[in-house]
């Protein structure tokens, strides 16, 4: 029910009022009309997370790398502390 999926804003329609802001969002090539009223900061090319026809938030590209940086740090830590690699405790 709270399923929200990431998609890329392909175009934004001109709106008289920000509360009516609509755009086309691509989900792996499939285009859908999405209400953009809640993401006034998002523009064409940005990724947003979409739920029941509404973009809930813009996806932060820098933060999106976090878990991979974290994994990398773990790998480095493994290398500097010999014996821990492969030790699944």
């Amino acid at each position: 029910m709270c399923l929200a999926i990431p998609g890329r804003i392909e175009s934004i329609e001109a709106a008289d009022d920000p509360i009516n802001r609509m755009g086309k969002v691509s989900f792996g090539g499939i285009l859908k009309d999405v209400n953009l009223a809640y993401v006034p900061e998002a523009g064409v090319g940005d990724y947003v997370i979409v739920h029941v026809g509404f973009a809930l938030n813009k996806i932060d590209e820098t933060e999106a790398e976090e878990v991979f940086r974290y994994l990398q740090e773990m790998e480095l830590a493994d290398e500097v502390s010999p014996g821990s690699a492969g030790d699944t405790g």
């Binding site: 709270c2 509360i19 209400n35 933060e63």
Partner: protein
């Protein structure tokens, strides 16, 4: 797809699982409170990657599952009236009321429609001025801003033949209710990422402090889920009880200001009964005073009735993290998604339905218990 596939990387999954194994020194029970996460955990077998003693339990994470039967009956009562078109999300139509479900009303000639977005219901109202169009609005804080917008726009555009039956529920009060229960066994929470996308996570800070539980804002892909578990376990092992947000690509501390503004305008916080759990104070959303004319419950004069649940169903215990679906004697035999006895078998995101889809075989031959 971008922002999905990379978070399913098997190498990263293995690495995080190993790290969780190293970090876990004692037995802990962690609850996720989002049906989408329950579904992903069961689908990807995340719980199977965890060390012995580290248990994931599934909370009341599905708004469809916790909607009381009497509200379903109200929707059925409204949908059965002449000149009414009732719209809702697909899951809602299959939930059995005390007598029938909404799909049955449809097959009996009622105008019941599945919509993808609440705005579709508003469009139907604008295109059919002679009909009363009712949107059956269910959902957590994730969905409330979208549903709220339909009412907000109906008011702005003067759409008089539109109204909403509100069955919205709020997550933090349910977490409090679980933690305050005498039989609570939850040590830490994975907070629902998309609820937090709207609400932020400030409101979890007092809960973490008061009940001494770590709360980790968690996303929906395997790497997200494992990272959530890892951070939660680390806190537990170190005796910390903080709110952490590794799902920062989507969630900011303050949430989404514009969504919260519309929600705050259209709705007011009310006491709400949760199916399987009971009354939880200040845990639901009803329409605010200024939008009372859009309240379908008042417009159609339905209300009152209370209904008994199936005596066999243990979904109340499952929703509080005290039992797993395979502990239920009816699971997979007398209770299936085609003929659900209880709340958690109804929606695809209910714990019983997720177990039925991915690990039916774990139940004993007679649907008996199997605690592994």
């Amino acid at each position: 797809m971008r922002y999905i596939d990379e978070y399913r990387d098997p190498d990263g999954v293995r690495r995080l699982a190993e790290e969780i194994g190293r970090a876990t020194g004692r037995a802990w029970t962690i609850m996720e409170v989002c049906g989408g996460q329950t579904h992903a955990i069961v689908r990807f077998g995340i719980d199977g990657l965890l060390p012995e003693g580290l248990t994931l339990v599934h909370g009341p994470g599905c708004p469809v599952c916790v909607t009381p039967i009497e509200i379903i009956d109200r929707a059925i009562g409204i949908a059965s009236q002449r000149g009414v078109t009732l719209c809702s999300f697909g899951d809602m139509l299959r939930v059995p009321g005390s007598g029938k479900d909404l799909l049955r009303v449809k097959s009996e000639g009622g105008d019941v429609r599945i919509v993808y977005s609440p705005m579709d219901a508003l469009r139907i109202a604008e295109a059919n001025a002679s009909r009363e169009v009712v949107f059956f609005g269910v959902g957590f804080e994730t969905t409330a801003p979208a549903n709220g917008m339909a009412v907000y726009q109906a008011a702005r555009r003067g759409v008089k033949n539109f109204s909403m039956l509100s069955a919205h529920v709020l997550v933090p009060p349910a977490m409090e209710a679980i933690l305050s229960s005498e039989c609570n066994r939850v040590n830490g929470f994975l907070a629902a990422g998309h609820v937090c996308a709207v609400m932020g996570y400030e409101e979890y800070e007092p809960i973490a402090a008061r009940h001494r539980v770590p709360i980790v804002v968690t996303g929906f892909e395997p790497l997200d889920l494992l990272q959530g578990v890892l951070l939660c376990v680390r806190q537990l092992e170190e005796g910390r009880a903080e709110v952490e947000n590794p799902y920062s690509r989507v969630v900011r501390r303050e949430g989404n200001a514009e969504a919260r503004r519309v929600m705050g305008e259209v709705f007011r916080v009310i006491d709400r009964k949760w199916r399987g759990i009971g009354m939880i104070p200040r845990s639901g959303l009803g329409l605010a005073e200024a939008y009372a004319e859009f309240d379908a419950e008042a417009r159609f004069g339905v209300g009152g009735v209370s209904v008994e649940e199936s005596g066999e169903c243990i979904s109340g215990l499952i929703l509080r993290g005290l039992k797993k679906p395979v502990d239920c004697p009816a699971f997979g035999s007398r209770c299936t998604p085609e003929r659900p006895l209880g709340a958690t078998m109804v929606s695809g995101e209910g714990a019983c339905a997720a177990y039925y889809k991915y690990r039916r075989h774990e139940a004993g031959p007679a649907g008996g218990r199997n605690n592994g």
